[in-house]
């Protein structure tokens, strides 16, 4: 869309898939970190509730 020119469908499709791939990797790393930091505490809370 830069300069008012349309992005070719192939590039646009590749960018869309790239965004999904990036989100998947970020979520994998992010949730993995959260699990390591809070996982044991949450299990303790559940078992002692």
């Amino acid at each position: 869309m830069i300069g008012g020119e349309a992005v070719p469908p192939t590039v646009e499709a590749a960018l869309l898939i790239g965004v999904v791939l990036l989100e998947a990797i970020v979520l994998y790393v992010g949730y993995g970190l959260a699990e390591r930091l809070f996982g044991d505490r949450i299990v303790d809370r559940i078992t002692n509730a």
Binding site: E12, A13, L16, I17, V20, L21, E23, A24, I25, E35
Partner: protein, 344 residues
């Protein structure tokens, strides 16, 4: 307030729905994606967007699952690459079929009917096995791990006996005709492209029952392959404007978290206890699509709402059963490990 063009309510609905699907995917190692496309169709999205966004969601989910399984060493890369070739052709043909059916105005009906029979058939099969206690037909990962290659099903032995060259040697000491592998891959790719599913719930049993690959290798290879089939499928749909990031991103955010919960639950809960719910969920999904189709034929709009509630309710029932059983098992384990003196 709008985020990615979605209202806040719809955003929460997608994240929540993704969470439910993630729990199912993480626990059963398959499934979930087949609920997304019919749900999006029921919500009124065009068929192409429902199928394309379903495939993009499958792609993202399988990337996460593959990252988690990469160290297990259960991937036959040669088989995986051959499956990718056959699946790509199948997806392309499936996509062309959807576009052609859309032009005829039949896409929604044909996809819905295929879903009803596929989900209904597998749902009946899983429920029957769970109720009768038979383990003969499941795709149960625990049983899978215990199965050796001497347990090759009769159908697979027959297929392996057709020695049409070139023959391929696969992990587990199996030799199968290249054409047979490509045929299985093409058929599952066709269903992926037509229905917007990753095809795992068809391909994984197909690798085991039809080709005779040991189940642990079938699971690993299937996950590896879904990354490519989901990626290629969503790319092809994205070129035709069939992928809506506003749908995919919140679904993925929910499912990635749910998958962690589901995976953790596998080491706590006995899968057989939950299997009957899984079968019922598939039947619920099948019934939902059938109700929606009847509603559109006889012009009864309320059937759309009933159908959507049935899909969400089915997913909620099974995910809830997994979480409830996990919490119960954790508490039982904790109280069992507490010294009995303290209770007296």
């Amino acid at each position: 307030m709008d985020v990615f063009g979605l209202s806040l309510g719809l955003l929460v609905l997608f994240v929540g729905f993704g969470l439910l699907i993630g729990v199912l995917f993480g626990f059963f190692g398959m499934g979930g994606s087949f609920l997304v496309t019919p749900a999006l169709i029921v919500m009124g999205y065009p068929t192409r967007v429902a199928v394309g966004s379903g495939l993009a969601f499958v792609f993202g989910t399988s990337v996460i699952a593959t990252l988690k399984h990469r160290d297990l060493g259960q991937v036959d890369y040669k088989l995986g690459l051959l499956m990718i070739v056959g699946t790509t052709l199948g997806i392309e043909v499936g996509k062309e079929m959807v576009i052609y059916l859309e032009e005829l105005g039949l896409a929604g009906s044909v996809i819905s009917v295929t879903y009803v029979f596929l989900l209904g058939g597998i749902g009946l099969f899983v429920t029957y096995n769970a109720v009768t206690g038979s383990s003969g037909g499941g795709v149960d990962h625990d049983a899978a791990a215990a199965d050796g290659d001497e347990d090759i099903p009769d159908i697979a032995k027959t297929i392996q006996s057709y020695r049409v060259p070139p023959m391929m040697s696969l992990r587990g000491g199996i030799t199968v005709s290249l054409w047979m592998i490509l045929s299985v891959a093409f058929a599952t790719g066709l269903l992926s492209g037509l229905l917007g599913v990753g095809g795992g719930f068809i391909r994984m049993p197909a690798l085991f029952y039809l080709i005779g690959v040991p189940v642990p290798v079938a699971v690993g290879t299937d996950l590896f392959e879904i990354v490519f089939s989901g990626g290629i499928g969503s790319f092809l749909y994205a070129m035709d404007g069939g992928v809506n990031l506003g749908i995919v991103l919140p679904l993925l955010a929910g499912s990635a978290f749910g998958a962690r919960l589901g995976s953790a639950a596998t080491s706590i809960v006995d899968e057989d206890e939950i299997k009957v719910y899984f079968g019922l969920m598939l039947l619920g999904g099948s019934l939902a699509v059938a109700i929606r189709e009847i509603g559109s034929v006889y012009d009864i709009p309320v059937f759309d709402t009933v159908s959507l509630l049935l899909i969400l309710g089915s997913a909620l029932l099974v995910s809830g059963a997994v979480v409830y059983s996990s919490v119960t098992a954790l508490r039982a384990e904790a109280s069992a490990s507490t010294p009995s003196v303290e209770h007296r």
